[in-house]
Symmetry: C3
Subunit: 162 residues, 3 copies
């Protein structure tokens, strides 16, 4: 498999772990000293950091397990990425990707069955967040790991009352 | 072309055939004894089968031509896939992909032209379904074919009154 | 890097330039005699040209800088592509891709902070356009350039009152 594909698959595993809220799998994609920072957009090409950076795979694991809102019953999500730009330079790699996050809310089947006029998938799929991932990776013992990860959000993040 | 790209292109042709409701092209991507099963999500990591499996390319062709709702006038769709995880093992391959389905409904141009305040694309693009494709392929006479295909839907599917 | 990846990255740079309204970067992806044409869908598999073709990188640069609506404050967009089909034939390449365009509108943080019940990303992400890119590229002095680019829109485009 080409190095570009290997790097794409790290991101493919990252989004699945995020969507499953699986901190352990997510954290294992990062080095022990990786730095992860969320940024929010403040102008056409400017961003500011949101919150403190996460440090290392252990920091990522803790954040996913403790800070991400769990899905409600019938809820799931898809962090989708596209249009990757990848530079491989020996054992170093850089990845830039667009992302769009979809929130899924399934309807529960009524105890007496679906209404007579119901047809097809029951529930909603809704884009709720977007931006870019900008990521550095390093090959260590033959395996690509994330060493720096910036999540560049298009929209501000509210913390109630702040 | 790498085997990973070849496998991705099978999926790229699959989604185009689905969106065109082109059963013949769709069916030709599958082996004669392929098994296709739709599943619907019942919990955080559980699914149950929906309906009976389709059998082989002929079964897929029949289903696309007879069971998929045709697009209304001005209607189209995009089954989009992302974040592929692909394992090639000799003449066998496994593919996992996220999917999001968009329903497109174009507005018809009024006989006396668009209203004075109309600007840009006229109609709606709406995500309606999502999930994962989990797919096994085999290389036969140099060509990759789908031998097993699971459509893992995030939401339940209603059959009116059932 | 494989030729298929190189071609994908041309498209990845194209969508970023479009979303940044960066005509100069966009134009540099095209040859001087490239032809770019927008089409709108008129039936299940029929399209008609919309407007006149753009000619060459200079025409693309001018159009991006002068005809694309600028983003409002807090606005951005993502032209996302998926399910690429790529044929490389020596120094010629053909690319077909699905696209979905998302419009992002960020909420501005109120001067006295977010409401007490606000949580998460503030604003909207909304799919507004979709279709296919159908693109020819040529390798010139070792670099892939776009020589012909069709934007196949799923929906008609209104010009107010016309």
């Amino acid at each position: 498999m080409s190095d570009e594909r290997k790097v794409q698959e790290i991101l493919a595993r990252y989004v699945r772990a995020t969507d499953r809220r699986d901190g352990k799998t997510q954290g294992a994609l990062f080095t022990d000293d990786a730095i992860v920072q969320i940024f929010v957009k403040t102008g056409p090409s400017s961003y500011e950091p949101f919150g403190e950076p996460l440090l290392g795979g252990a920091g990522v694991e803790y954040a996913v397990d403790n800070f991400m809102a769990p899905h409600p019953d019938g809820g799931s999500s898809h962090h989708t990425t596209s249009d990757h730009i990848i530079d491989i330079n020996g054992d170093d790699a850089h990845l830039n990707a667009q992302f769009v996050v979809f929130e899924v809310r399934a309807e529960m089947r009524p105890a007496d069955g679906w209404p007579a006029n119901a047809f097809g998938s029951q529930g909603t799929v809704r884009p709720i967040e977007s931006g870019y991932y900008d990521t550095d990776l390093r090959r260590i013992d033959g395996e690509w790991k994330i060493v720096a990860h910036s999540v560049l959000m298009d929209m501000p993040i509210a913390v109630g009352g702040a």
